[in-house]
């Protein structure tokens, strides 16, 4: 109704001419003025009509009536975490580095507690990459309900099987209707309870998946891998994707007694042969094969080139990748330390030999028997690899497979190594996904003091920042140790000294926060 007046004033009274167009009831507010003594100019009348319309619209505002109700969130079945913890959750959530937050959430999930609703808006903005494993367990029904308005948040609504009671029908439902991640998770669970059932499902559906997902689904077979899986995996070796082929071959190599593993091990016997003993060490030679039999030309064995290595050497790396480390103990009749120390004395091919072993350690599923190999390989790496390029690569390969105790040993080796410098340790810290063991921290403290003595405060700051970034993996036992850290830098009253003091203080704040959180959680769940 107002539009004619708006159009009229947009054009201007001088152009439009005449009196302002009639509007509606609001005009009644202006009419008495026109009837009065004062003469109203046309622009003034238009303006007053505008005012009358504004007042009329504002006073007579009509609410919308066609908006439908949204379905409320379902009732929660689990309790919220106690109020005494919420302040600490706020602190952890506001931390730009998100330090101890993942650990806090894991602890809450383990206790069957949910995050109070007030935290959900901030939590739902977290990334699936870092928090995907834990968020769905702590956001509850309210969080899942809220996530319907969060873009790309299907992962938050992911369904998971109960870990205590396995239900085949429930698992089948998720397998048939779930998202990719849900299907991978359910396949792993099925694999734990009924390994053959997982193979049946994969045999029926695997070729309908994308290559990338096929690799992820095959990874689930690492759980309870056995000779029963061999036929299925042999079929996958002919897959059209190079990565699926590689995965299938990795798995075949890891099955003790499989046709492929036996074949590879037969070949491997010819690759490394002992020629005698000297000074407690083995004398052996490495005889790489140039030509590959045609039936061996399966995934991973063709057309590979590697900078800095001859074709023969590439083959060595490829072969060794599929040979379990423990095989060499039997074949060469020596323990891992003797074997690796002997390898260091080889005139040639020791580098591809080490890389092959490191690959085997990283690719094949870890076994208890091969644990003595890890410090031995680390020691060999420090001895023969170039610190700037080769060593970091080796550490990166190995670190993901190391236990916390081995990481401590690695750290101590880094300190004992001839070159006391940062890259090794940085790589270890970067690869550190498991808990910080106390001995590892002790080693770290030694290194920090070492840097301070040699006046490298920048490196100290960098290491401290790394520990802060990995704060979430600090075990409860590590907390008192970090609180006791007092770096000698405090005595240096310069910019770096103050800076390091600040970073250390920041780390200790986070540690204290974790300590208090555990204490309060213990009290609350008693």
């Amino acid at each position: 109704m107002m539009q004619p007046l708006v159009d009229w004033t947009l054009a201007g009274t001088s152009r439009s001419g005449g009196a302002p167009p009639e509007c509606h009831e609001a005009d009644a507010l202006v009419s008495p003025l026109k009837a009065g003594k004062e003469e109203l100019s046309t622009p003034k009348e238009a303006l007053l009509r505008g005012a009358a319309d504004a007042i009329f619209q504002q006073a007579g505002y009509l609410p919308t009536t066609k908006i439908s109700v949204i379905e409320p969130a379902p009732e929660e079945t689990k309790p919220y975490c106690p109020h005494s913890l919420t302040g600490m959750l706020v602190t952890a959530l506001q931390d730009a580095e998100k330090g101890p937050l993942p650990r806090f959430l894991e602890e809450l999930a383990a206790q069957g507690l949910l995050i109070p609703p007030g935290f959900l808006p901030a939590l739902l903005q977290l990334k699936a990459k870092e928090f995907g494993h834990i968020l769905p367990q702590v956001i509850g029904e309210r969080g899942r309900w809220l996530s319907q308005w969060v873009p790309d948040s299907e992962w938050l609504r992911s369904r998971s099987l109960s870990t205590e009671q396995f239900s085949e029908s429930e698992a089948k439902e998720i397998w048939e209707e779930g998202t990719t991640q849900e299907r991978i998770d359910v396949l792993k669970t099925v694999r734990r309870h009924q390994p053959a059932l997982a193979i049946d499902w994969l045999a029926a559906d695997l070729n309908k998946e994308k290559a990338e997902d096929r690799v992820k689904l095959l990874e689930a077979l690492e759980i309870n891998l056995s000779l029963d899986d061999e036929t299925f995996l042999q079929d996958q070796v002919t897959d059209r994707s190079k990565f699926v082929k590689e995965k299938a071959v990795d798995l075949l190599a890891a099955i003790p007694g499989s046709e492929f593993a036996t074949l590879i091990q037969e070949r491997a016997k010819k690759l490394l042969q002992t020629t005698g003993k000297k000074g407690g060490l083995l004398q052996f030679e490495c005889v790489p094969t140039q030509v590959m039999a045609k039936d061996w030309q399966i995934a991973g064995f063709m057309d590979l080139r590697r900078r800095g290595f001859s074709q023969k050497e590439v083959k060595v790396i490829q072969f060794l990748r599929y040979v379990p480390l423990t095989f060499w103990e039997e074949h060469l009749g020596a323990d891992p330390q003797t074997i690796t120390e002997s390898a260091a004395l080889l005139k040639e091919h020791h580098h591809p030999l080490l890389l092959g072993w490191l690959n085997a350690a990283s690719v094949l599923p870890r076994t208890r028997e091969e644990e003595p190999w890890h410090p031995a390989l680390l020691s060999l790496s420090y001895k023969i690899l170039k610190p700037t390029q080769q060593l970091p690569e080796a550490l990166a390969l190995l670190a993901s497979k190391l236990t916390t105790a081995e990481l401590s040993q690695a750290a101590e080796l880094a300190i004992d190594a001839p070159q006391k410098f940062l890259p090794q340790l940085n790589y270890l810290l970067d690869s550190l996904t498991c808990d910080f063991p106390a001995s590892y921290l002790k080693a770290l403290k030694l290194l920090l003091d070492e840097f301070l003595k040699s006046n490298h405060p920048y490196e100290v700051e960098e290491i401290l920042k790394k520990v802060i970034a990995n704060c979430s993996s600090l075990t409860k036992e590590c907390l008192p140790l970090i609180l006791s850290w007092e770096l000698q830098v405090k005595k240096k009253n310069n910019w770096y000294g103050r800076r390091i003091e600040e970073v250390l203080g920041n780390l200790q704040d986070k540690v204290r926060l974790q300590q208090r959180f555990y204490e309060e959680l213990k009290k609350a769940t008693k």
């Binding site: 004033t9 001088s14 009536t65 439908s68 600490m88 007030g118 808006p121 204290r512």
Partner: protein, 437 residues
């Protein structure tokens, strides 16, 4: 009475202070910490050792640091420690520097009460004052004549022409109004610059605002024939300030249990304004306490905790629709365990109150209130508040995350500001708790 982190945020003069306070929310910065029923104190290690004390009855604070912000980051940090980890502050006997502060504070409070009870001093020279007032009136009238011409010229040549005008087009007219001692109208003219092309119906909005300004000029010409309250409204709109003495004599005093509904801040070119909204539990009267800050200076807001209630007296500026008020008590204490919730039963009753306001004082820009039993609702990308009758008001600011999270879609009480087009949520009251939104 415990304090939440949200309420501490509400007390802070600005966001920077909140961030700085957050950094001090770690006991390692505090070699000394202690509390008793009355006071919380601590010594904070900064570039010096600062002594911070907080009166727990009303959260008034003092710090030995040189900061001009109030409360300072040290006081905020100390309060945050109390809120996030109360067990880290042990009960203790207050040291002398704390007891001395408390005594002096008590003395100051008494002196203020005594001063307030004294009769106001008479103006130094009533004749000179009257002469100055007449001069100003003359200047304002001349300014309004010129302003009216400008308004009408605008309509004569067409509102479409503002399309091509730079912000200086509005600013120059605003400056002329300032020169004519009509700063209130000047601010309104400055705000017009934001209308063109900000929405699809901008020509209508512009015509509405220009029309209201014309109405103000028209009304001022016959101000003497209006009621004293409408005269006060017009004078305040044009830019006359109400002096303390005028406020004391002409203002309206209302005693009630005032619930703090929330606050909203707004920035104009010259000044930042913070509006703290309250609603009387007994009278249903809505009040707004305005705080102004220039440039980067922080707000010096009254120390009222959001969501709390205060039994105190507010002094309202004279108006036919009184909203603006000041506290008569400097630092009132919040009521303990107060669960009364004033407000409107539904959207319709809220809009009725707005309509009353519009009819009495058509230049009011914001209304506020608390609506009970409302739920979030959505259509497309637009979110609404919806009452049990199915009446909805559009919400400003996108998805109401916090409201959704806390309510889970169940009915709650929601406080907010209404500008005639959008509802700006300020606070949520549910399960006897308050959440700032």
């Amino acid at each position: 009475m415990s304090i939440s982190l949200e309420q501490i945020k509400g007390l802070a003069p600005d966001d920077k202070s909140v961030a700085a306070g957050r950094k001090l929310n770690a006991v390692r910065h505090w070699p000394t910490l202690g509390k008793n029923d009355q006071v919380l104190w601590g010594e904070c290690k900064g570039s010096a050792l600062y002594q911070v004390k907080i009166d727990l009855s009303n959260y008034g604070s003092a710090c030995s640091c040189p900061s001009r912000k109030f409360p300072c980051k040290h006081a905020l940090g100390l309060l945050m420690i109390l809120a996030s980890d109360p067990s880290s502050v042990q009960a203790a006997e207050p040291p002398e520097w704390v007891t001395t502060w408390l005594e002096k504070r008590q003395q100051r409070q008494e002196a203020k009460v005594q001063k307030a009870a004294e009769p106001a001093k008479k103006a130094a020279d009533p004749k000179a004052q009257a002469r100055r007032a007449a001069q100003r009136l003359k200047r304002v009238q001349a300014g309004l004549d010129q302003f009216e011409l400008w308004l009408q010229d605008l309509v004569r040549s067409g509102l479409a022409q503002v399309d091509a005008q730079p912000p200086s087009f509005w600013n120059e007219q605003a400056k002329r109004l300032v020169d004519s001692q009509a700063p209130g109208l000047a601010a309104r003219v400055e705000s017009l610059a934001a209308i063109p092309h900000a929405s699809s119906n901008w020509p209508q909005k512009l015509l509405h605002e220009l029309g209201k300004l014309q109405l103000a000029v028209h009304a001022f010409r016959r101000v003497d024939s209006l009621s004293p309250e409408s005269q006060a409204d017009l004078r305040q709109l044009i830019g006359w300030t109400v002096t303390k003495e005028e406020l004391q004599t002409e203002g309206i005093r209302i005693k009630d249990r005032w619930k703090v509904l929330g606050k909203r801040a707004e920035e104009t070119e010259r000044v930042r304004v913070e509006r703290l909204w309250l609603m009387g539990c007994e009278t249903g009267q809505v009040a707004v306490i305005l705080t102004f800050a220039v440039g980067n200076r922080p707000f010096e807001a009254p120390p009222l905790l959001l969501g709390s209630a205060y039994e105190t007296e507010l002094l309202f500026y004279p108006s036919s629709f009184p909203q603006r008020a000041v506290l008569t008590e400097a630092e009132p204490s919040p009521l303990k365990q107060h669960q009364e919730l004033p407000g409107y039963a539904d959207v319709e009753s809220f809009l009725d109150a707005v309509a009353t306001g519009v009819s009495r004082q058509p230049w009011t820009l914001q209304y506020a209130g608390m609506l009970h039993e409302v739920t979030p609702a959505v259509e497309g990308e637009q979110w609404y508040l919806r009452d049990r009758q199915g009446h909805s008001l559009p919400l400003a600011g996108g998805m109401p995350w916090s409201w959704l999270a806390h309510s889970g879609g169940q009915p709650t009480s929601l406080s907010g500001e209404w500008d005639g087009e959008w509802f700006y949520p300020m606070g949520l009251f549910f399960n006897e708790k308050f959440r700032a939104l």
